[in-house]
Amino acid sequence: MKNLKFTRTHEWVKVEANQDYTIGITDHAQELLGDMVYIELPAIGTAIIAGKPFGVVESVKAASDVYAPVSGTVTEINSPLENNPALLNSDPYGQGWMIKIKPSQPEELNSLLKEEDYQQSLLEQ
């Protein structure tokens, strides 16, 4: 996970080889929420804005907005995830990825947390 960046709201971003970004939620988030039941993902082509919600995850415990770590346009969504939300619990950094985007302002990545800083922020909560 060394190559991932994180938000304080428990989302992660991975820069892909083609410079698109993959976005998901962290292990901490899935553990807090519990068994996932429904996922709402945006449509391909949707513009997402850093800091604003782009989707919803609903667990047995609660519904939770997922916040865009950076801005961009949705290029791909993880459809298997919509049919099998349990992947968010079992593999949040792998098969549990949520969306891929073409970033509009790549420099936003610099404001995100490195892994050690994210783990540290969890201890402070």
Partner: protein, 356 residues
């Protein structure tokens, strides 16, 4: 300082996620509440329910007293070693608690009461027992283990002693038996077949460990809640309380009206309310994606709003289900307000399991 059951350390050993439940440190789940729920529906699961209150009512006046105290009539019990479910109401018909009463002998009854209402219940029962030839005895030294699921009887054969297994294998539903310091009852809160066992703390720890070693799935409060919701079982403090009567809580069936001269506490108020009942409890099934949760608004055609009392996801139906208190006139459909949007729901009886 939270109360701990005798099995507390064993839950920590099993890496349970613990939670506070009305002052008790209890296991919420052991990894996945859904896996635990499914285990109980398909196989068997075990629950530590030692936080509940065991109260023994002893003496020749027990029958008379309980016939006054409870909405259901213990005269319905066919023989010692049987049990029934009842409400306990105040003079206004408001529900003080719901409980199961077990007759162990003609002069010995056991009540199992909710943990959240312990002090209130005991004070009430003590006060109302004045004038009856009974003594009350709480049993805090007893733990309670529930074992629930279709495989319960087959899987327990290698766990219990031969004498215990013999005794329980002839139990019918809602029957109970004392054997080797353990009290077994064929009752439960999941909608599945199963047993609830009250037993001394040391024996409970030994039994729980044996069950874990034999691969029985430990289940926490989260699964307990989703199971009882599917099964149509009410949760005191959430679906009903002192401000609601059995008639408004889907519990009219716990009231034994005849004979009228039994005059149980609250009967007069309940008879009066029956004449002009305004609310009833229904079940809701959400026809869209989403999850219904307590306190959400229920919107009905040309009627005042109702309210969700309990709601959640039903793994057995792969849909969201709920109990809702609504005007008596509500019929087939409703809309539920979830996160600011209205979602379609179907109204039905508050019981969601397919008939077995």
């Amino acid at each position: 300082m939270a109360n701990k059951t005798p099995l507390y350390q064993l839950h920590l050993d099993a890496h349970a996620k613990m939670t506070d439940f009305y002052g008790w440190d209890m296991p919420l789940h052991y990894g996945s509440q859904m896996a635990e729920h499914v285990a109980v529906r398909n196989d068997v699961g075990i629950f530590d329910v030692s936080h509940m209150t065991v109260l023994d009512i002893l003496g020749a006046g027990g029958r008379q007293f309980l016939r006054k105290l409870l909405t259901n009539d213990i005269d319905k019990l066919p023989h010692p070693g049987s049990a029934l479910y009842s409400c306990m109401c105040n003079e206004h018909g408001g529900i003080l608690d719901d409980l199961i009463v077990y007759q162990r002998a003609p002069d010995s009854y056991r009540l199992i009461l909710n943990s959240s209402t312990k002090d209130k219940d005991i004070a009430w029962i003590q006060e109302k027992s004045q004038g009856f030839a009974v003594g009350l005895l709480t049993r805090p030294e007893l733990a309670i283990i529930a074992i629930q699921g279709p495989q319960v009887f087959s899987k327990l054969q290698t766990i219990l002693t031969p004498a215990q297994y013999d005794a329980i294998s002839t139990l019918r539903r809602f029957e109970c038996v004392d054997i080797e310091a353990c009290f077994f009852a064929r009752t439960g809160y999941t909608g599945e077949d199963g047993l609830e066992i009250s037993l001394p703390a040391d024996q409970a720890r030994e039994l729980w460990q044996k069950l874990i070693n034999a691969g029985f799935q430990p289940c926490g409060l989260a699964a307990r809640d989703s199971l009882r919701l599917e099964a149509g079982l009410m949760l005191y403090g959430q679906d009903m309380d002192e401000t609601t009567t059995p008639l408004e809580s889907g519990l009219e069936w716990t009231i034994q009206w005849e004979p009228l001269d039994r005059d149980f506490i609250g009967m007069g108020a309940l008879l009066a309310q029956k004449e002009h009942l305004k609310h009833k409890m229904v079940g809701l099934v959400l026809e869209e994606k989403g999850i219904m949760r307590p306190h959400q608004r229920v919107v009905l055609n040309h009627l005042p709003d109702g309210i969700i009392t309990s709601g959640g996801y039903a793994p057995s139906l792969e849909q969201s289900i709920a109990f809702a208190r609504v005007p008596v006139e509500a019929t087939e459909t409703a809309e539920v307000e979830i996160r600011g949007r209205l979602h379609r729901a179907r109204i039905q009886k508050p019981r969601f399991l397919p008939k077995k």
